[in-house]
């Protein structure tokens, strides 16, 4: 029997309910007696709250309750905790101003929640929200990160001088200085990594409930990590003990990082439910999501790369201003530091690296992890620099990269920025990509395009990333306030089917299928005999959820360890039933066999025996077949690859058309190639979106969110994207039992560099050498036009 399951293109079990409209999302849930919450949000980017008058609103029809920041303080609620502490260069801790659930005294960004209206219908709550009279004393606002650090800029917090949360560094400044001193060539670059709005298809939604009879609180939440929310909200905000708080993340329509964090609205509805003893439901409007979901990226960077005369990298120095937004979101400090600067070696042997990062508060929505979280920023910077150096030194971009790649026999490879890569082969993925993209045939395509009046360009990015987060001790040493292990419970039912309880959470990743494949292959049972349960803290053991491409490397490894325990116990049971020594029992293809004989028992027979232990070694073995394993990873994992984009630019309008996109990636062991391909496609779409289309814009003076809806925020659409050419080449992860590296974020990490390098390659033919993301039509046209005028 037993087709091998791991590596098979098994169609997703989840898809039946998702594609037929039978998913069970938070907004689909309706509890008896429920009431509806609407948040009153600040229309100003920066203002003192002089007064909040809720009298008229409270008198409106259907209003059950209205709460403001003052009510929450009076009730003794805590503020939203930050889950990662970053130190300054001098070792002192970062500024950590409080992040209130509802604004207290001041508002610091357009969209900050000021009050919550609770009514017996959403319409009644919306009507009453307009009757709340908030008197603001407007203050000057500063939304841009480079303006915020200048002396004289409006200050958001007394404890953060010049709006600086932390001034952090990593690497060896002296080694870098020495390298630059002698370097025959230095390439300099100023880059902006544009702010993005995550826009998961499902907006955030929460239902808080409280049962007065049992004292139990429940929160239904669109979260990527329900246990983390239970801990953060219970311990730090509501002061509710975990055994009385159940958090359920049902079907969730995409997160991309934006649903990791503990948000004000979660705490507000859970607390309100305890006051009213009724379920309190909130679902975000899309325009509300634009101004309340954590945003991504938003760096301004100056970088310099020192090279010798043959193009070998000697040193890299980087100075980044990272926008944290108006308050610290749950993981915000780590994203532009430990998830960013530690990747600045990229795929190269650069021996000396020094990076300084200032985390800066501004009057904008809080910024935190978004697909790639720090690694897209690092990869974009490095790959733009490398291409610029290639152009300046007149070396082919692929050749320059190969010259500096870490050799395949150099692993484990210790980078100058803390991370040690376990395995990799950037040569093979680059060759795969160059082949698939027909890099060699490009110049003819460029010439043909020229005849049609178009500028054609091709661009590379060879990326690496650190994911499979994370080894707890390492993370803790770097300031993480949580461990990052994962857990799996494998519960064998008496009749031989399996339920897996995982601490990861599937919100598009397909764990219900991939985890089932791992179990099916190991235990030799059909994949439809395996159920994967996740998302309910009452059901699953304490896990850290899904982000940072961790579910398979970390969660899958926990699953393998639990399966090891199942197999070990199964062998003991089989030995007893088969009257053989345990050491003589082999387990293969779902059968326990006495070595060298045809005496065997099926997995199903063993399962039944465990739960009906009539013929069973009860003196030495407990009945049952239900094992849990926790797995703390020994290191991050390091997927890598090469992305190649080919574009055509219409010089009359500046429009960039993406003609081809090629991705050759190393994800280690692949459990389900269909799912991996889907992940790559999604990541590429988001990376292309960042490079060509998406940009969250604030008015520089007023701090108003200008791109507040899809009418102005330019999402990538299917029609914008060519068919992707994707391929994989595996070097196994050396330190987890699956050999898996994870694949969820790679597309978003490599694509921006590839696309922008292609755009600049096209524009180089007419002398344009600088351009920032997104390469929107007017931006490209101006670059072309300015060049023409200068010529």
């Amino acid at each position: 029997m037993s087709a091998r399951m791991v590596g098979d293109p098994v169609r997703r079990k989840e898809d039946l309910r998702f594609l037929t409209g039978k998913g069970h999302y938070t907004d689909d849930i309706n509890r008896p007696g429920q009431v509806y919450a609407v948040f009153v949000r600040s229309p100003h980017a920066h203002a003192e709250i002089k007064s909040i008058d809720t009298k008229r609103a409270a008198g409106a029809p259907g209003i059950v309750a209205i709460y403001t920041g003052a009510d929450l303080i009076k009730a003794g609620l805590g503020t939203l905790p930050c889950g990662w502490g970053v130190k300054n260069k001098d070792g002192s801790p970062m500024a950590e101003p409080p992040h209130p659930v509802l604004a207290s005294g001041k508002v610091r960004y357009v969209g900050e929640a000021v009050a919550v209206i609770i009514a017996d219908s959403k319409a009644a709550a919306e009507e009453a929200a307009e009757l709340v009279e908030v008197t603001y004393n407007e203050l000057p606002a500063v939304p841009a990160v480079d303006a915020a650090v200048k002396s004289g800029a409006p200050q958001l917090f007394a404890e953060a001088k010049n709006n600086i949360c932390y001034d952090w560094h990593i690497g060896d400044a002296a080694a870098v200085a020495a390298a630059f001193e002698k370097a025959p060539h230095v390439t300099k670059l100023d880059v902006v990594n544009n702010r993005l709005v995550p826009n998961a298809m499902e907006p955030r939604a929460y239902i808080g409930d409280y049962d007065r009879a049992t004292g139990e609180h429940t929160l239904f939440t669109t979260s990527q990590n329900p246990h983390a929310i239970r801990l953060l909200m219970g311990a730090f905000v509501l002061h509710v003990p975990e055994h009385k708080l159940r958090v359920v993340a049902p079907d969730v329509g995409g997160g991309f990082g934006s649903k990791i964090f503990h948000y004000a609205e979660e705490a507000a509805v859970t607390w309100a439910a305890t006051q009213l003893c009724r379920p309190v439901k909130w679902t975000a409007e899309r325009s509300e999501s634009f101004m309340s979901d954590a945003h991504g990226r938003d760096h301004v960077t100056h970088a310099e790369l020192a090279l010798d005369k043959d193009g070998k990298f000697l040193g890299l120095r980087v100075a980044t201003l990272a926008n944290l937004g108006a308050y610290l979101s749950t993981f915000a400090p780590a994203v532009p530091t430990y998830l960013y600067a530690t990747l600045l070696a990229g795929t190269y042997t650069t021996p000396a690296i020094y990076a300084e990062v200032k985390g800066v508060f501004t009057n904008t929505v809080p910024v935190d992890a978004y697909r790639g979280a720090g690694r897209p920023e690092a990869s974009y910077l490095v790959e733009r620099l490398v291409d610029k150096a290639a152009s300046e030194l007149k070396i082919d971009p692929a050749a320059l990269r190969r010259k500096n790649f870490i050799p395949t026999d150099a692993y484990p490879y210790q980078t100058p920025v803390a991370l040690a890569y376990d395995s990799g082969d950037y040569f093979s993925t680059l060759d795969l990509a160059l082949q698939a993209a027909d890099y060699a045939g490009f110049s003819k395509r460029r010439d043909d395009a020229k005849k049609r009046g178009k500028l054609r360009g091709i661009g590379l990015a060879t990326y690496i990333e650190a994911c499979g987060v994370a080894p707890s001790a390492v993370a803790g040493a770097l300031g993480a306030r949580a461990g990052l292990y994962e857990v799996a419970e494998v519960r064998v039912n008496p009749t031989g089917s399996i339920t897996v309880f995982t601490g990861t959470h599937s919100h598009g990743q397909g764990h219900e299928t991939t985890f089932a494949q791992v179990v099916a292959e190991r235990l030799g049972i059909p994949v439809d005999q395996v159920q994967v349960a996740h998302g309910d803290t009452a059901q699953t053991p304490f896990g850290m959820g899904t982000y940072g491409s961790r579910s398979l490397p970390v969660g899958g490894s926990a699953l393998v360890k639990a399966l090891d325990k199942i197999e070990a116990k199964g062998k003991k049971i089989a030995a007893h039933l088969l009257e053989a020594a345990e050491a003589d029992i082999e387990f293969k293809d779902g059968k326990f066999t006495v070595a060298g004989t045809d005496k065997s028992k099926s997995f199903g027979e063993i399962a039944l025996a465990a739960y009906i232990p009539h013929n069973y070694p009860l003196e030495t073995l407990e009945p049952g077949l239900d094992e849990t394993a926790y797995y703390d990873p020994k290191n991050f994992t390091f997927p890598s690859g090469a992305h190649i984009a080919e574009v055509e630019i219409d010089p009359d309008t500046g429009t960039v058309e993406l003609i081809n996109m090629t991705a050759a990636d190393d994800f280690g062991r692949i459990v389900n190639p269909l799912i991996v391909e889907g992940q790559v496609h999604g990541g590429l779409a988001q990376g292309i979106g960042q490079a060509l289309f998406e940009e969250c814009r604030y008015d520089p003076k007023s701090g108003q969110l200008v791109t507040g809806s899809f009418m102005d925020y330019r999402m990538p659409r299917a029609g914008d994207l060519p068919s992707f050419a994707v391929a994989t080449h595996a070097t196994l992860c050396t330190h987890n039992p699956l050999g898996a590296k994870g694949c969820g974020e790679a597309g978003a990490i490599g694509a921006p560099g590839a696309v922008m390098n292609a755009v600049l390659n096209a524009l180089s033919t007419i002398g344009v050498s600088e351009l920032q993301m997104p390469a929107s039509p007017e931006r490209v046209w101006r670059a072309i036009n300015d060049r023409k005028a200068a010529a």
């Binding site: 009507e127 307009e130 309008t653 814009r697 039509p777 046209w781 101006r782």
Partner: protein
């Protein structure tokens, strides 16, 4: 949305009476502008008067040397109409680039021109084709109909019932869409009739306008070269994060030349 009373009008006269009597009432055609406006609570009409059940407002027919399109004709119907494709294919092409498929299935010609969004596509066609707007009260020439941003010549209670488009000798429409909304940043409709040339520009300014310099040059020589040197001034043009006035002025020239080339 704020609460409103909903009425399905039985006839044009019925609809007209309703909106005349109730000063805060609004007509609903396709709803593609109105409904998002209501959902964002940017408008608070007391009543909505729905035109979707009125048969006399539908239909596309050939009438001598013109194509007459009912006000409640959906964009997709214009795209798919054999009459339009035969007589004025540029009009079908314009309709095929309005919004997206969902918008084209619901949005209407009458609704579009009555609203007169500066970035709508149809106003350029109506002006360039020198169409006549037919209402329940009178006939209005294209050059008289569009007055200013979101402003038309329609009186209170006056409802567009159809638009009559004379069939041109040559015509084409070229649009540079807003990358996010797909409204026109610049849309240029060029026509050649036996008695002249018309160049109508939408999206670039607060209201559709005719580019008279280009019309004069093309009347002498209908070719893209003839207008190569004509520079659209940027004063008074719209500017936003997607396109500055300077960029729009440049695009007017580019789209006009492409439209002339496509017109044949």
């Amino acid at each position: 949305m704020y609460n409103f009373e909903f009425h399905k009008a039985k006839s044009v006269a019925d609809a007209s009476a309703q909106i005349t009597q109730k000063s805060e009432a609004k007509l609903v055609a396709g709803g593609m502008t109105l409904i998002p406006t209501l959902k964002q609570r940017l408008a608070k009409p007391s009543d909505l008067v729905d035109l979707n059940g009125i048969a006399e407002l539908k239909g596309i027919k050939r009438d001598g040397n013109a194509v007459v399109i009912g006000a409640m004709t959906r964009h997709v119907e214009v795209v798919e109409s054999a009459e339009v494709q035969k007589a004025i294919p540029a009009l079908a092409h314009l309709a095929s680039h309005i919004g997206d498929p969902a918008v084209r299935n619901r949005g209407t010609l009458g609704g579009s021109i009555s609203n007169n969004d500066p970035a709508a596509d149809y106003p350029a066609a109506v002006v360039a084709l020198n169409a006549t707007v037919i209402t329940n009260k009178r006939k209005i020439a294209a050059d008289e109909f569009f007055k200013g941003m979101f402003e038309t010549a329609l009186d209170a209670g006056e409802i567009v019932t159809a638009v009559s488009f004379p069939i041109p000798e040559k015509a084409a429409y070229m649009k540079f869409p807003n990358p996010a909304s797909r409204y026109a940043i610049v849309g240029v409709f060029v026509t050649k009739h036996k008695d002249g040339v018309r160049v109508a520009v939408t999206g670039a300014g607060p209201c559709v306008f005719r580019q008279k310099d280009m019309e004069a040059a093309l009347a002498k020589n209908f070719s893209a070269d003839a207008i190569k040197a004509i520079v659209q001034k940027q004063d008074g043009l719209n500017g936003d994060i997607h396109a500055s006035p300077e960029y729009r002025a440049h695009l007017v020239g580019v789209m006009a030349r492409r439209a002339v080339a496509a017109a044949g």
